[in-house]
């Protein structure tokens, strides 16, 4: 059993899976960096006092949350090219960009609703207290509302972030070679190995370790924000 873990088969597969998992991680972090701020902008849109803007934002959020992410990825990657607009560069990098854009938009819409709940959940009394102290609207938002919203949204955001780790596997629909694609490749044949099934199931180890680390870090963040109570 132990000798298996030092065999060339194991090392070849793990090297390939590592390459795939780096793609997975890149997609994960790019999505977070893009979707966290974009979600805030969208939440402002859906709370806007200008009705057309509010309706437009809510329609977009409805469409993005109401259709499968996998369909959004396919549409975003292929439809521009089919219409003659070649906006994605060739090869792997173009696929990655297209998938990343789809993920950022999709997750920003989910995040925006979490933000909205967090912002609207801060008691009105807090804003009134700010007014009494003579703070401007901007000051009230950044120093009172946003600060308390951050604490409230950590548990639901943790949920989405852990879902995101696993959702990255949808990217293989447009042949982005993330970790599951790499695992599956050994079933058909890759680098001289064919008919191997275990690499596919072995990818679970990567997801488990990564979501475990994410859970611990997010738990620590939650603890840190407890002083608000």
């Amino acid at each position: 059993m132990l000798s298996f873990f030092s065999s060339t088969e194991f090392l070849t597969v793990v090297t390939a899976l590592n390459t795939g998992f780096i793609k997975t991680l890149q997609l994960f972090f790019v999505t977070l960096v893009g979707a966290v701020p974009l979600g805030l902008v969208i939440s402002f849109g859906s709370m806007s006092r200008i009705p057309p803007l509010r309706w437009l934002t809510k329609t977009i959020v409805w469409m993005i949350r109401g259709t499968p992410l996998v369909l959004q990825i396919i549409a975003l990657y292929y439809v521009p090219g089919l219409k003659g607009f070649h906006i994605w560069s060739g090869g792997e990098s173009g696929r990655f960009t297209a998938v990343a854009v789809a993920f950022v938009i999709n997750y920003a819409c989910y995040f925006s609703e979490i933000y909205r709940g967090g912002i609207q959940g801060v008691p009105v009394g807090q804003q009134e207290a700010g007014l009494v102290l003579g703070m401007t609207k901007r000051q009230i938002f950044f120093k009172i509302t946003l600060l308390q919203m951050v604490k409230r949204i950590v548990p639901p955001m943790s949920n989405e972030i852990i879902t995101l780790v696993k959702d990255t596997s949808l990217a293989r629909v447009v042949a982005l070679q993330e970790v599951i694609w790499m695992g599956e490749s050994f079933m058909k044949g890759n680098q001289g190995y064919a008919g191997l099934v275990w690499p596919l199931f072995f990818t679970a180890v990567y997801y488990l370790v990564f979501s475990g680390v994410a859970t611990i870090l997010l738990g620590k963040l939650e603890k840190k924000l407890e002083y608000f109570r």
Binding site: T12, P51, P52, W55, L56, T59, M63, I74, A75, Y77, Y78, V79, P80, G81, L82, K83, G84, F85, H86, W88, G90, G91, G94, R172, V173, V174, A175, Q177, S185, M187, K188, G189, N190, Q191, G192, Y193, A194, G195, L196, V197
Partner: protein, 299 residues
């Protein structure tokens, strides 16, 4: 009153969005202004107006590839046609011949793994320039692509455990057998036509696993794949293949071809290249390297 206004605004927004989505259809010919890609590759197209436009765009496919300097070959991991060697480079009969074809056009070759179900979309969206991957010339392919001359023959074979191979010799019917097949494959049709009860799995490799694990009596896969994936020196050393199902049914063999965009002049370029490659013996030589010489069409 206010409520109904909101409702209508929402409905209008929805109608607008859906009508935008409806533009995503296949009416590429009515979309001349949008064809930025090919026009950029062949600027003289801009001057010609009217009905000749689409024809012109398609004519420039060879020029389009030569202008950008790379031939992007859409393929999947499919030994012995396209697969990675130990260093991670693409090799195989198709991969080597595709490199030679790109060289003959004076461009670099670029291999792009694709999701097989989306090969037509990949071609039409120009994210690849051809599909070259042991592709059977079936109705779907012929309807959606222009293909070069068939270059390889394929048949469906029955894969069985090696120690039971004798029981299957000269079998003409598969009745009473549980046979694993790839869902939607030519093998599935063949197995059903011969009276087998079939278990549909996602991939040919999965079908082999079923036989290996004893959950199916036999599997039906491509001859070329069987030649490369089972028998001595592979992970399925305990399996072998026997009956040729095409012969058993009295059907013609399947043919493999290379697919290009509809109306592409790359088809003619490919046919010229291939005739020359047969004449100078490089097709047979490459085929022998990968053990597919028996299946090649050399005329």
């Amino acid at each position: 009153m206010m409520k109904s206004k909101k409702f209508w605004a929402l409905l209008l927004a929805l109608a607008m969005v859906l009508s935008l989505a409806a533009c995503g259809g296949k009416d590429a010919s009515s979309d001349k202004s949008g064809d930025a890609g090919p026009s950029a590759a062949a600027p003289e197209d801009q001057t010609s107006g009217g009905t000749g436009d689409e024809q012109k765009d398609s004519d420039s496919d060879l020029a389009y590839v030569q202008n950008k300097g790379t031939l992007v070959v859409g393929m999947t991991d499919f030994a012995p046609m396209d697969y990675r060697d130990a260093n991670g480079n693409w090799i195989g009969f198709d991969a080597d011949m595709a490199s030679a074809f790109a060289e003959s056009l004076g461009v670099k070759v670029e291999f792009q793994e694709i999701t097989w179900d989306y090969k037509v979309m990949e071609l039409d969206a120009k994210s690849i320039d051809c599909v070259w991957n042991g592709m059977t010339l079936n109705d779907e392919v012929k309807a959606a692509m222009d293909t070069g001359n068939a270059y390889c023959l394929n048949a469906q074979v029955l894969v069985v455990p090696a120690d039971k191979a004798a029981d299957f010799e000269s079998l003409t019917s598969l009745e009473g057998l549980n046979v694993a097949v790839e869902s939607g494959s030519a093998g599935e049709d063949a197995a059903e036509a011969l009276g087998a009860s079939t278990t549909a799995v996602a991939k040919q490799a999965d079908a082999l696993m079923e036989v290996s694990a004893g959950t199916a009596d036999a599997a039906v896969i491509d001859l070329l794949m069987a030649g490369a994936m089972i028998g001595e020196g592979t992970n399925y050393a305990n399996l072998t293949y026997t009956v040729n199902l095409n012969t058993a049914q009295g059907l013609e063999s399947e043919e493999y071809g290379v697919g290009f965009r509809k109306g592409s002049d790359l088809v003619a370029a490919w046919n010229d290249f291939w005739s020359a490659a047969i004449a100078d013996g490089s097709v047979l030589e490459t085929g022998t390297t990968y053990g597919v010489q028996e299946s090649l069409i050399l005329e």
